[in-house]
Symmetry: C4
Amino acid sequence: MTGSPLEAEITRLREEVCALHAELTRYGLVVWTAGNVSARVPGHDLMVIKPSGVSYQDLAPELMVVTDLHGVPTDSLPGDSLPGESGGEWGNPGLSPSSDTAAHAYVYRHMPEVGGVVHTHSTYATAWAARGEPIPCVLTMMGDEFGGDIPIGPFALIGDDSIGRGIVETLRNSASPAVLMQSHGPFTVGPTARDAVKAAAMCEEVARTVHIARQLGEPLPIAPEHIASLHHRYQNVYGR
Amino acid sequence: MTGSPLEAEITRLREEVCALHAELTRYGLVVWTAGNVSARVPGHDLMVIKPSGVSYQDLAPELMVVTDLHGVPTDSLPGDSLPGESGGEWGNPGLSPSSDTAAHAYVYRHMPEVGGVVHTHSTYATAWAARGEPIPCVLTMMGDEFGGDIPIGPFALIGDDSIGRGIVETLRNSASPAVLMQSHGPFTVGPTARDAVKAAAMCEEVARTVHIARQLGEPLPIAPEHIASLHHRYQNVYGR
Amino acid sequence: MTGSPLEAEITRLREEVCALHAELTRYGLVVWTAGNVSARVPGHDLMVIKPSGVSYQDLAPELMVVTDLHGVPTDSLPGDSLPGESGGEWGNPGLSPSSDTAAHAYVYRHMPEVGGVVHTHSTYATAWAARGEPIPCVLTMMGDEFGGDIPIGPFALIGDDSIGRGIVETLRNSASPAVLMQSHGPFTVGPTARDAVKAAAMCEEVARTVHIARQLGEPLPIAPEHIASLHHRYQNVYGR
Amino acid sequence: MTGSPLEAEITRLREEVCALHAELTRYGLVVWTAGNVSARVPGHDLMVIKPSGVSYQDLAPELMVVTDLHGVPTDSLPGDSLPGESGGEWGNPGLSPSSDTAAHAYVYRHMPEVGGVVHTHSTYATAWAARGEPIPCVLTMMGDEFGGDIPIGPFALIGDDSIGRGIVETLRNSASPAVLMQSHGPFTVGPTARDAVKAAAMCEEVARTVHIARQLGEPLPIAPEHIASLHHRYQNVYGR
């Protein structure tokens, strides 16, 4: 299997996904092991995701787990599931994928434009989620990055497709790459895993800034046409 | 004494307890010298704990103090207190054990399932303790880790068994591995010292998130059966 | 072109501007790529500014972009625009200058005493900006550094001169080197880029301290003559 | 002069005072250059203090300034001011002492038991100072370290003895080693400079914790006899 383009791509994604977890800690988005990043393997029904229960300082590229888009690690797949490849092993580390893998996988199955997914319990975003309140778009940087309010997704228990379905249904009705799952925390998406991590960092930053603004009064609204103009420019002219 | 299995175990626990104090500073749970970790020596009436008054950056494994389960350093024990060993010295550094040693020791004497104890004055948990208010379980990650509210223990002065007794009586009536001692701060327990440190980090994180959520309204409740389901899954399926 | 005094000055300013971005992260003023520092090239209609979309940890002096005072990179200038020089190239890295370059350039064109400009979305300052409220001068360190309230500038969209004009008109009516652009964030100026970075750090610090003071009541006012006395001493005797 | 016991003591204190500034940044007590530590030279009318306007990362022991107890650098003293020494030079770096030197010097002249003084504008302590409100003693760690409320000192302008006088008069009527100067910030004292830095770190920590507690209700009071008992034990049995 050595040297195939797919294997090279997986090696690269393992390095990228591993390195992006350091951004989660750099921006203070996670405590202990409670956050995870994944990346789609472009052109294949595969994803790369954090192993379960490993501390951020102990992560290494070879510990990242490759699964199919139902969250099954490739070493559990029948040998013929990857045409032209001799087996499903892919050098998986024998660790379980993140306990949030089903939600990531659901997103990849239903949103083909998404190349990366991030889940955290970042403090301020989770506080909005605990009240079930969307974050209103009252900052120009929210217009740029989110194109409007950051919406709330439904309360959903882990264990089946409810979290994934809640994420997808909420994001489809919004310009935002971030959704706050009620009583739980934020999920963010992007064309790449790095974009999804940026959205996670910006989501926490605007959750915090708008929270602080509202502690002493009401933030001034921004007109919808100004929000649309900021978002259009940021996504097109500025070139996200 | 060199080379006995008990001595090897104590050497290992001194390294672990010392290293875990770095996690207290990594997660911002302590200021100056105001927090401590201990571990039970499995199968013996002994514990390993932080020395009193030493800064976190000056800690080293050989400075950790070994005491019996009444908090008496082993170098003060009569030589026959440890069958098969020639004395009570155990290479103790001549430093006093943490001023909170009596509370840790009480917990080990009365909760045989506990292998590690942590005490901090982490800011948000201590703020709830100052009002004497339990932290309500309004986040899925609280359901996972704490199985319900984080309870308040009684006001107790240092100097006798009152703190230890307050911790044990409160924890026995709760699923939570954390208790907030009134006007004082959190104590956490776990099967190992590392589990108790994780509980201390998660306790501060949920104390902070729920505080912030409540600053701008009331968090939505989570149904008791959902909390039970999250806790059961996390403790069993997910495999804590 | 090698060895000219102008080139040596630009090399020095590239190093300084690059290094000052590390102060933005040291003081927690920026997330991801959302903040920028520039410096005027003294005696020339030129400025040095952060490239667009590069992470702070990837910045290097040679990536800083040299532009004229309308924000046009020097490699786009006609060869005769710089007397005695053979072209407009200046070793520019081929990166675009920060998307906020037009605002920086406007400030340099209209405030000849300004040698450095900084823009951030630092959290507490941006929270005041979101409410459109000036920060009242209720701390002696605000009297020292800002000489009074930190004022609010108008709401302005990116894309033309409105942001720059709003900054300049607001600062001209104030002793403060900082202005909070409504719904957007702070811009600060100074005789040098380092002074502007200091003003950005102090602006966030006083925004945070006054916010926290006001959460539990009203800060005590400082008499205007005391503010004037503090500011005069700090700017003259203490020798800013 | 080389090799005299006094010179050796000053060399040691320069190293200690320099190193203690790193603790101010470690505990987040200072921004830019806005905080300072000094130490009395025991048995001499001399003190060692931070130079004015030098960034914390640029400090070095030889940059610390030696002054008399009126804040005059020793290189400005007449040669006969130090009996048995040939001059007033003491290797001073030619830098001005901190702009707060007069306040430190006043404290050393009037409180002979004080060996170290620290001034910061740490955020939460300064927020209490901005409202002119003492911090109520509602945490056991406040009883331990401060023996009661942390008091407010008068509003005082820099430039004469008013700040020093306000500190001394307030501390004389209190068990606390910390005073919050109104609209300004905290000053702390201790038998050594290290004790004063510890008091500064603990002052900010309790200012923050009590602030957060009060955001959502009233902290429970601690009975005065319990505060007295905690303070007595901490200062005597525990051995501060």
